[in-house]
């Protein structure tokens, strides 16, 4: 019995939600350094519902489950993260549509759609010290990894690990940046020297997903 794409999507989404809930305090503390300290708690309000109610979600298609998560986030998550992550999921749902099998190109397209949603909603550009600064390079790394023709059977797992490492590194690289978005922006020069909470969260989430993926699908 091989896992279907939807099984894999379930694993990714559940892992993501669980990782966020587990890191609530850590993410909030990162946000407290130069922001207002609500980030982890805001995200948890939504993702804990994803964790607890996941089994009840409509999972007849990739789009259905992504949309449902987008709705949960819109109804539960406050702060900037609600509209940003909510829009990201809603846009990715549109991109996924009623597909029940996702190939590698589909995955990249869905992720790019979520980035477009974040940019549409929040108006940020790269280099403004937001989660985009780790998410975008991570997607680039994933795309490059998945596209490698020389890869063996572990191609997906390796690409995922490459994406996670890229995100982790990119999150570190937000340190010298000046925050221009969200509440961290109000601190001006003082935002320089600490990592962006959102960017770091992306790295942490991707590392979790990569580890679980490797365990399950090697």
């Amino acid at each position: 019995m091989t896992a279907t794409s939807l099984d894999r999507l379930d694993l990714v989404l559940r892992t993501m939600a669980e990782t966020i809930v587990e890191n609530t305090v850590y993410f909030a503390e990162l946000d407290a350094v130069v922001g207002d300290g609500d980030f982890g708690y805001s995200l948890r309000s939504g993702f804990e519902v994803v964790v607890s109610d996941y089994d009840t979600f409509d999972r007849t298609s990739a789009g259905a489950v992504l949309k449902k998560i987008g709705f949960v986030l819109s109804s539960k998550v406050g702060g900037s993260s609600g509209p940003i992550w909510g829009t990201a999921f809603l846009r990715s749902a549109v991109a996924a549509g009623d597909k029940t099998e996702l190939n590698r190109e589909d995955v990249i397209e869905i992720l790019r759609a979520s980035v477009a949603g974040i940019i549409h909603r929040g108006g940020a550009a790269l280099g403004e010290k937001t989660l985009l600064d780790s998410l975008v390079p991570a997607i680039d790394a994933l795309e490059a990894g998945l596209a490698r023709q020389d890869a063996g059977p572990q191609r997906d797992a390796e690409a995922l690990q490459h994406a996670a490492d890229t995100a982790t590194k990119a999150a570190e690289d937000t340190k010298p940046m000046l925050a221009l978005r969200g509440r961290a922006a109000y601190t001006g020069e003082r935002s320089i020297g600490s990592v962006d909470a959102g960017a770091t969260a992306v790295g942490v989430i991707l590392q979790s997903i990569s580890a679980v993926w490797r365990e399950q699908y090697g």
């Binding site: 708690y41 819109s74 702060g79 909603r121 509440r183 001006g188």
Partner: protein
């Protein structure tokens, strides 16, 4: 954590229930959307005025719901703007043929939620306009793309449009009045201590015993500068030197003056600051039309205060003098 609280995650709902129960039927409470609204609204002959924003700024904004002020408030959690759904559902629930007015403090979270919520409600046929409050001079408009923050000056926007709306003004008229207030209101806050969100359970930031934070945001975002504590006289100078030249307020102007407590500072100290500010303003030839000394927009139990000046003309003076009814009262 030195707080009266049961489950910290139920802090906001339990507070809202208290507001509801204390209102003797004048306010309704919809737990699904953290929504406090006037029991006599929506009405076909009055624009509905809605404020979102985070919790933890009480009495802003849930305790400012009442006749002549807000018609509804649907705050998010402590220091987090409301989820999009709260805005969407509240806008639909308060829909009136005269339209709905969103008053939004210019913070990314609030803006994004209100923009998306507005888009969704408009698709359902609700007519909506938005006022973006941005009175905090600590943040320079030009440098940061997000623009200046909305802080305690918000009160004057609510008071003016609340009074006008009670007198029958239509949506466009309210937008005009609200933007007039926004154009003429400026604030600066100074924090002496940090504060502890109930869910976090520990202070948001550290600050030494002899330090203060100038230009603090109302969610504990660090301000312009951290310096040694100075005397009350010097603090008022700092505030006026930041606020007065910003508009600028000039000799001959008439102003409403607000000394707003950030939560942990005594009303005695606020009046002390007011007395100093009053004399310094009059010395500059700026005439005080009316004083506001109280807590209007807090950061939980943070010790500190902000100063807000609003330039008033006859129209605004009239609207500020109109009666209003809110939860937060003495009698």
């Amino acid at each position: 954590m030195k707080k009266f609280v049961n489950d910290p995650r139920q802090f906001v709902p339990e507070m809202l229930e208290g507001i509801h129960l204390a209102s003797d039927g004048r306010l309704k409470y919809e737990p699904k959307y953290n929504l406090i609204y006037r029991a006599d609204m929506p009405r076909a002959d009055k624009v509905s005025i809605i404020q979102g924003s985070g919790s933890g700024h009480e009495p802003a904004h849930t305790m400012m719901v009442g006749k002549g002020m807000l018609d509804a408030a649907c705050p998010g959690d402590v220091f987090a703007g409301p989820p999009v759904d709260f805005v969407y559902e509240t806008s639909k629930l308060l829909n009136s043929p005269k339209g709905v007015l969103h008053i939004v403090n210019n913070y990314t979270g609030d803006r994004l939620a209100f923009e998306q919520g507005r888009e969704m409600a408009e698709m359902d046929g609700v007519r909506i306009e938005t006022l973006l409050v941005n009175d905090d001079v600590a943040v320079k408009d030009s440098t940061w793309t997000v623009g200046r923050r909305g802080v305690a000056g918000n009160f004057f926007v609510i008071k003016a449009v609340g009074a006008a709306s009670e007198n029958g003004a239509d949506l466009d008229e309210l937008v005009r009045i609200g933007n007039k207030v926004i154009a003429g209101v400026r604030s600066l806050g100074i924090a002496l201590s940090s504060c502890t969100p109930p869910v976090k359970g520990s202070p948001l930031f550290e600050i030494a015993d002899d330090e203060m934070e100038i230009g603090i945001g109302i969610h504990g975002e660090p301000g312009r500068q951290r310096t040694k504590m100075v005397s009350a006289n010097e603090i008022v100078d700092l505030m006026l030197d930041a606020v007065v030249p910003d508009l600028p307020f000039e000799s001959g102007d008439e102003v409403a003056v607000m000394i707003n407590g950030l939560g942990g500072t005594t009303i005695g100290e606020l009046y002390l600051l007011y007395g100093i500010a009053h004399k310094k303003l009059e010395a500059k030839g700026i005439k005080v039309f009316r004083s506001y000394v109280n807590e209007y927009c807090t950061s939980l139990e943070m010790a500190g205060a902000s100063l807000t000046l609003l330039k008033v003309d006859d129209e605004l003076k009239h609207l500020l003098n109109e009666p209003a009814e809110v939860s937060i009262r003495v009698f």
